[in-house]
Symmetry: C2
Subunit: 408 residues, 2 copies
Amino acid sequence: MIDYDDFFSRVAHTTQGSAIRKMGVMALKAPDMISFAPGYPDPAMFAWQDFRQIAHEVLTGTDPSVLQYGPTRGYRPLLESVCAILRARGIETPVDNLLITTGSQQGLDLVARALFDPGDVALVELPAYTGAIAAFRNTQVTLLGVRQEADGIDLGDLEEVVTRTRASGRRVRCLYVVPNFQNPTGLLIGLPKRRHLLQAAARLDLLIIEDDPYGALYFEDAATAEDTRPIKADDAEGRVIYLSSFSKTLAPGFRVAWMVAPTPIVEKLDLGKQVSDLMTPSLDQHIVFEAIRRGVFERQVPVLRRFYQNKRTVMQQALRTELGDLIRWPEPRGGFFLWVTLPEAVDADEMVPRAVEQRVIYVAGSAFFVNGRGQHMLRLSFSLPPEARIVEGVKRLAQVIKHEIARG
Amino acid sequence: MIDYDDFFSRVAHTTQGSAIRKMGVMALKAPDMISFAPGYPDPAMFAWQDFRQIAHEVLTGTDPSVLQYGPTRGYRPLLESVCAILRARGIETPVDNLLITTGSQQGLDLVARALFDPGDVALVELPAYTGAIAAFRNTQVTLLGVRQEADGIDLGDLEEVVTRTRASGRRVRCLYVVPNFQNPTGLLIGLPKRRHLLQAAARLDLLIIEDDPYGALYFEDAATAEDTRPIKADDAEGRVIYLSSFSKTLAPGFRVAWMVAPTPIVEKLDLGKQVSDLMTPSLDQHIVFEAIRRGVFERQVPVLRRFYQNKRTVMQQALRTELGDLIRWPEPRGGFFLWVTLPEAVDADEMVPRAVEQRVIYVAGSAFFVNGRGQHMLRLSFSLPPEARIVEGVKRLAQVIKHEIARG
């Protein structure tokens, strides 16, 4: 018998699976399971007819690039369309600073490999997106957390963590943030704080990795486009690497996302992508480009804002009805997630099997904390289930939570 | 001004661009350039009509999984179809040992990250595929080369290199080979040698990374399906990680490839892929699955064999006509490549600008050698240009070579 453990790299020995992916698989296995776990968009809202028509038109064979190898940076017309989308968000960038990635997950992986050495420290929010945590840890970087307030990251804590880390002799050069409708908390970094964050980054000599998958999906009853202005838009100095994606607006199955970075960094990311997968699939890039060119993207986004806002409202109402003030959460002003704080007596990790028994599933908060906290928290995603299922799922969850409290 | 060099990881400081990608970009820029550089399949042979029909049928919205997030391992029906393809190649494997990758490039990257630590030694053929060299080096592994003979890798040299490396106190656990129509030499490892290689791997306690993008494309005038039997087919012990792809048979733009590995390894690769891109794009996986289910793949492959065989013949005849015995090459019995040895006086790297001037391009041999050799060699890919362009390109190249000889 071969002992494969002998063959694995140090990285392979430590890589861990995604809690969210595991929950997703669980949800698939039970027939009547209601899943609030993964942040899946609702496929009922995908522009199926447009994509179908576009695929039919681009697959004629007259343009070989639709199915051929292509440039690592991405399909040029798509890159130019992304530039226009960025301009509308306040980011002026030459097309040469862009890179199409195979989902933003690849973007996070590429950034981590370009910037982190084993033993370095990188900073993330408390709590932070698990996909970023996994990609970063895969380089054997140490992750330290920075607290969040109601308007996002706590700049005092940021300064303190950086100072303390450097005093201990460790290299800390990067901060990862999701300023718009953060995953998992749904929080929005306030506009004044975005400016202050840029100033703090300059003072502390940090790069900011700004991940923005949800910015376009603000809820009009609670936020405006202006509130979502990317930090990158005001980055005169070149401190910000900006990531965004079509996964939540067009469809995740295309795996078409993008990054903007200062020239020396984007060149390294390009080399990293050559090694990772040569290029993002051509057909998907062509379809996404055509969807933008034909106005599908522009038409979809406002519809999605109202659609997900409504689901959020349904979930909030159901939670209030079923649990009153037993739990609390910051009201989501956009995005896919609602971040619940349970009574102290309830442990969200330990509650998972009981929830599964009641055919409802969530992600326990601890998965998002790099400091081992979050036991009394959980993330509910309202994006995928239809309204009636949201209501039913919240009923089931409420029953489980009340039962936990009674046991406690 | 920010000095970004301060921020880069050690990996980023050392990553290098692909020589082939650079040549590909060059070729695109000049209008009348004839490119023998990248190993692109001929898009005239893609099953455009079938893909168009399939895309139209799968994009109805009745199956949300076509555009939704999906399992990291891959779309289950596709995995099952791949099992059947493998069975036809002599490889019996449970579906659980398979992983769909975003091109084989991703497979190579995942393997490298799972198996190599900085400072380890890994073995590759002399010469070897540049995409593998780049992916492996990106983990800061040291690559050592093993000589090839007419029937592929030299087992005596393999044993010697391993022994010498271990005697010097370094860890060497893996060998990368392309047994079928190797990139760049076009060589085929003989059947008896495949068995001996497995025995050598067991004796030396090595894992074999077997990369097989071209095996299906043997030329019927010079090889049979049996000649291409994968090493993995006889791997009772679990020493072989096998990679293959639909890039050369269906189309590279889908980026759909796959790997088979022993259970503990495939589990690590799955975790690595979660971090890298979560999953290979769903639409592409569905289209490739349907292309297999509807017999497109099975219908295409024999047609491609004859098609590329014919291009090879055209290139060989043109080379003989133009250059007689000034150059030599092993006759390709499959695949996309013809590996030319030039007269000693001619340096293939130095000749590049002169070739570009004559509007013909190739990849200089040195890109494929991890030991700094290959100056008098070059790789010609006959897969992409139409016949008349092959003839014309060879004429241009012959002129350049003759001129070099005259200068020399």
